[in-house]
């Protein structure tokens, strides 16, 4: 009797104990996903809209200077009389282009380099790893500033510069994860059946490093957006009138006491995008990882 009862009781305890806490964790995760989706989605929509429609021309200085929010100028105007909402919209586009572009450049360079290092054993790997470590020792911002200083400030230069500076981080992560995957027996098993290295990379290595690498790339997106804002703040970003949020912050700095919205609006947009992306990653990672589920 007791023997028959025991498994049932233990099954009940696990059922009672495990599911609610798992359910809570899942709810928290899906909440993060929803908040992330809303934040990123809203900013992406605004950025998309800015391509087709803007309330004002960004170089239109006909508005009054430093007006407060109103029906004509939703967020007011800056010290030159330009519409602030228009500029925040354009800033959203620039932030997304810079973020996606920089991550794209970082992945396009970093992943092949990291994969090659993982395949190449011995001194080639050592040399590549040392080069990565040296590059990583320089902060992304410093390297990007160096490149922008040489090439001149433009959105494209800033994006590529941030991407290049990030590629070392991506390469190092790719190398480590790929090395771990290459040591797995399913790689040996694929080789014993005569699969070529190219197909092994495509079918086994890339899918197995992607969960880890993609999460890193996504978090690099936040870093890239912040880096672009910082560079623009320093006057090294996209030139006006297409100002990024960083430049808006810098321009509003002198009038922050009289017209705080000029700094607060781009600041909130920047924070919302970075937090939104991070929440989105957290939520998506849990859905995307089949093993964890």
């Amino acid at each position: 009797m007791t023997g028959a009862n025991r498994p049932a009781t233990s099954a009940e305890t696990t059922r009672d104990g495990a599911v609610p806490s798992g359910g809570r964790a899942r709810n928290r995760r899906s909440l993060a996903l929803i908040v992330g989706l809303v934040l990123v989605g809203a900013i992406a929509l605004v950025a998309l809209l800015s391509i087709f429609w803007l309330p004002f021309d960004p170089s239109d200085t006909t508005g009054g200077r430093l007006e407060g929010p109103g029906l004509a100028h939703w967020l007011g105007t800056d010290r030159l009389g330009r519409d602030l909402f228009t500029q925040v919209m354009i800033g959203a586009r620039i932030a997304l282009v810079a973020g996606i572009g920089a991550v794209g450049v970082g992945a396009a360079i970093g992943m092949p380099v990291g994969l090659s290092a993982a395949f190449a054993a011995g001194w080639v790997d050592d040399t590549m790893s040392a080069a990565m470590d040296i590059l990583i020792a320089f902060p992304v911002l410093l390297l990007a500033m160096l490149i922008v200083a040489v090439q001149g400030a433009s959105l494209a230069t800033v994006t590529v510069a941030i991407g290049l500076s990030m590629s070392a981080i991506v390469a190092r992560l790719t190398r480590v994860v790929a090395k771990r995957v290459l040591a797995q027996q399913y790689i040996t098993a694929a080789r014993t059946s005569g699969t070529s290295w190219l197909s092994i990379v495509r079918q086994h290595v890339l899918p197995n490093i992607w969960p880890t690498v993609s999460v890193n790339l996504a978090s690099q997106f936040g870093v890239a957006v912040l880096a672009e804002a910082s560079l623009s703040y320093l006057g090294l970003g996209a030139p006006p009138p297409n100002s990024s949020w960083g430049r808006l912050l810098q321009e509003a700095q002198s009038t922050v006491v009289t017209a705080p919205l000029g700094a607060v609006a781009p600041g909130i947009a920047l924070v919302a995008l970075v937090i939104g992306v991070n929440l989105l990653i957290d939520g998506l990672r849990d859905i995307a990882d089949p093993i964890q589920n």
């Binding site: 054993a121 797995q184 027996q185 399913y186 040996t188 098993a189 694929a190 080789r191 014993t192 059946s193 005569g194 699969t195 070529s196 197909s199 079918q203 086994h204 899918p207 197995n208 089949p290 093993i291």
Partner: protein, 270 residues
């Protein structure tokens, strides 16, 4: 002509130690050979050297002629087309030998497409047939599962299906049932025996267990610390081992055999 001729095979590790020393044997088409030894005896390395897939840093010397082609020292480029077609592998732990992120059907489709040239619905049909051949129930469901979603015995059947999909002339089974419990082990061995026999394939069966080997092959090579200590027919090795090391295996074999008998006796009535 022999399918496989291994002569004076040596495998050296980076620190200059010979992990396999002067091992020679032949396998004719359709012949089966057991490679027996404790872990670290060099039996698995010998098996991997046959298709030129030694772990990084290990260096093979001597000669391995597989299907008339020298494997030792051959460039990777010429080995890739030989692998699978001439010789394929089954591993000890099917959980790690299958990609956890890839659905089993797709994994199985890869060698089938490459070696048999099927595409589209013919490929899907061939995948399900291959799963059916290894007596997997509900091939559709297995094909749509990932490796960690099915049982150990089922996984090893999928691995066997993958190895056979290449239609190899030689199958190397490296401790294929060690990770399974005794009942499942007996079923998988019977399946392997039947499939290899049907296809007139040659087989190298690597194991530390003489009892398991005796179910699969007649001939065995006993290895110890990289050297072949004894070679002969299994009944002879069991009855009159020439080397004390072989005698230990013979004693172990009798214990395993008893466990098998018990497991089968339990399994049969159902």
């Amino acid at each position: 002509m022999n399918l496989l001729e291994v002569s004076s095979l040596r495998v050296m590790s980076p620190d200059g130690v010979y992990r396999v020393r002067d091992v020679s044997f032949t396998v004719a088409p359709g012949e089966r050979l057991g490679l027996i030894g404790e872990s670290g005896s060099g039996k698995s390395l010998t098996a991997f050297a046959v298709i030129g897939l030694l772990p990084a840093g290990l260096q093979a010397t001597g000669s391995v002629m597989l299907g008339g082609t020298e494997v030792v020292g051959a460039p990777e480029k010429s080995l890739v087309p030989m692998r699978g077609r001439l010789c394929s592998f089954i591993f000890q732990e099917p959980l790690t030998a299958l990609d956890p992120l890839m659905r089993l059907g797709r994994q199985l489709a890869e060698p089938i497409a490459r070696h048999q040239g099927h595409r589209g619905s013919a490929l899907k049909r061939a995948v399900l047939d291959a799963l059916d051949e290894v007596h997997l129930p509900e091939p559709e469901r297995i094909a749509n599962s990932r490796s960690y979603e099915i049982s150990g015995g089922q996984r090893q059947r999928v691995a066997i299906a993958m190895a056979l999909a290449c239609r190899p002339k030689l199958l190397i089974a490296d401790e294929p049932t060690t990770a399974l419990d005794v009942t499942v082990q007996a079923e998988v061995l019977a399946l392997l025996d039947h499939l290899v026999g049907d296809r007139d394939m040659a087989m190298i069966f690597v194991s530390h267990d003489l009892a398991v080997v005796s179910r699969m092959t007649d001939q065995a090579l006993v290895m110890r610390s990289g050297e072949a200590v004894e070679k002969g027919s299994i009944p002879n090795l069991l009855a009159s081992p020439q080397h004390p090391y072989t005698a230990e295996f013979a004693a172990g074999a009798r214990r395993t055999e008893a466990a098998f008998a018990a497991a089968l006796a339990q399994a049969r009535p159902e």
